[in-house]
Amino acid sequence: MKLGTKLTLFNTISKLVIVVLFVLLLPVLIHNINRNYTDSWLRGQQEKVLKQVQLSGIDTYIKNGEGYGSYNALLKEEYVSMDVDSTSEEIDTIVNERRLVEGDTIQYRILSHNFKIGKQNYLLEIGKSIDTINETTVPLQSIAFEILLGMVLLTILADQFYSTYILRPLNKIIRTKLIGQKFPLRTPYRKVRTTTSDFEHLDISIHKMIQTIESTFQKEREFISNASHELMTPISILQSKIENMFGSEDITDEVKERLLELQRILNRLKSITKTLLLISQIENEQFLKEDKVSVAELLNEVHDEISIRLQQRNIHCEISIPGDWELQGVNKFLLFNLVFNLVNNAIKYNKEGGSITITGYIDNKSRVIEIADTGIGINGEQLPHIFNRFKKFSKSLQQDSFGLGLPIVKSIADFHHILIEVSSEEGTGSSFKLVFPPEMSKNQ
């Protein structure tokens, strides 16, 4: 789940929990508030009544021992009563009690208070109907709920907007700094604009990490490049010496055979060094991509170069490529070597008398060249490693090779942004698909 979604979800849930809790607590709260309010109202009324009694005298209300009573006429929401109290103990309570008023039993909040005038005790009761007290609770609760819900929704929306806004630099860092980062770096470091220091920190840390990787890559490439260059001169000297010795008259054939052996070994060293140098040159982008190549012509050239190998192993090679296919923005030398190595492998790992099919077709708007053979195939375990340098597999035929053929292919393909798809079945054959980027196929 995305960080933004998580934050919003958490905010929503926590707010909802608080709101629901509040709404559930609301009746109790309102009840308490109402009671306190009613109680103090009752006290106030008591004061008023007592003051009135003092002013008017108790006789105004109680005559001949008959109690006084007064209530709101119809609804009987409130009432006041005074009576002679026979008990002598002090009473001063507020309780909920039922009273029968004109045939209706009504629950009241009743204040009972006794007071003395002269020697006589009197009991005062002031009551307020509970229904009246509680009638505001339910609407209050629902209004509160609605308002709060509205507010929660609003804050969620605001949260959503804000978290999207605040997380934007993070997305940008991931998109521009991590995904699709290629080495060597072609674009200079550009700071991601953010006011969040954590993201700034992240950006800088990633940049530092990438710099470390870049410099390691750079060092490795430089090493390979320098090492290969440095090896070239001694190899050159050895080769010249061997050639001169081989050419001289006063050397026996026996010695010449041994020189031949030396030459073979030197050749091997030379091939490896040259190949490594080529790969490092490709990776250092030392080649231009300015050629325009006719695919059919290129394949014919490869076929020309390689026909002797096909003939030797009695392998049939079928090429079917649209004649008008042209690739632009490529390096012809490299592309030739790419195809050569793939076809060469298709021969090397083929069966005697097998066949190779090279087809060109359009798949999903991209041009694809597929080179399929009827060879020994590659097993599933080895498949992910075939492009690794110096990786050799035991099943490779007795052919002399040092495992740099496919790494050359891979580095040339990467350099041209050509996608390679390999599928293979052991014992049946392999198929290498080259998927060309669309910009290579544009005709002017």
């Binding site: 170069e305 002797i308 003939q311 090779s401």
Partner: protein, 227 residues
């Protein structure tokens, strides 16, 4: 022909000198750019072989000087720093060829010969091999009045290379390097040369015996020619 070899690696210079000398070139050697610069401005050469990796001099500057003081000379750049840029710059500055190290001495001679043919116009570019006439300019092999048209480009290259180094045994790897040297792949030892030679023999045999093409047992092949 006069050749100036500018190469700081003494051992390599000696081998080049030895080889070219045995092929009737007159060689002078310099181990640094300063001496080379002096020689270039005072003497005249037919060939100047310049190593780009000189310790005291930019080889490309030396090339410019050579073009100035020795405009007739053919310049070949030799370098271990096979930077693609260098190659383009060198050829832009008027180098006649570019040979990345490590190179075969036979290849060097072949390049020099090709330049000679191109630049100075070799008079006799048709050579007789037994009953066959090899035309190096038009790249054809003919027998009497009929042309051996089935000979492929690669096959002709092989014959021409062996002819250039006539009476000398060429190993399979030397021949391979000549015809497949520019291709980078991971085979370092192959017997495809044998297949090529077999084809050449078969094609020529239809016209006459190519008895001048000898298989030197265990070593390689050789074209024998006496004159």
């Amino acid at each position: 022909m006069n050749v100036l070899i500018v190469e700081d690696e003494k051992a390599l210079t000696e081998e080049m000198e030895l080889f070219l000398h045995s092929n009737n070139y007159i060689c002078e050697t310099c181990y640094n750019g300063t001496t080379a610069s002096e020689r270039i401005s005072t003497n005249l050469y037919d060939f100047i072989l310049i190593d780009l990796g000189l310790p005291d001099y930019d080889g490309l500057d030396l090339l410019k000087e050579a073009k100035k003081y020795n405009p007739e000379a053919a310049c070949i750049i030799l370098t271990a720093r096979a930077e693609v840029d260098d190659r383009i710059k060198g050829l832009d500055l008027g180098a006649d060829d570019y040979l990345p190290k490590p190179f075969s001495l036979l290849e060097l001679q072949s390049r020099m010969q090709a330049i000679t043919r191109r630049k100075f116009g070799l008079k006799n570019s048709v050579m007789m091999l037994g009953e066959f006439a090899i035309d190096l300019t038009n790249r054809t092999i003919s027998h009497g009045t009929s042309q051996v048209s089935s000979i492929t480009r690669k096959e002709f290259d092989l014959v021409a290379y062996m002819l250039l180094h006539k009476n000398r045994t060429l190993t399979r790897s030397q021949l391979s390097e000549h015809i497949w040297g520019s291709i980078v792949n991971d085979d370092y030892d192959s017997n495809y040369i044998d297949a090529h030679i077999k084809n050449i023999r078969k094609k020529l045999n239809a016209f006459g015996p190519p008895d001048w093409l000898e298989t030197v047992r265990g070593l390689g092949y050789r074209i024998n020619i006496n004159n």
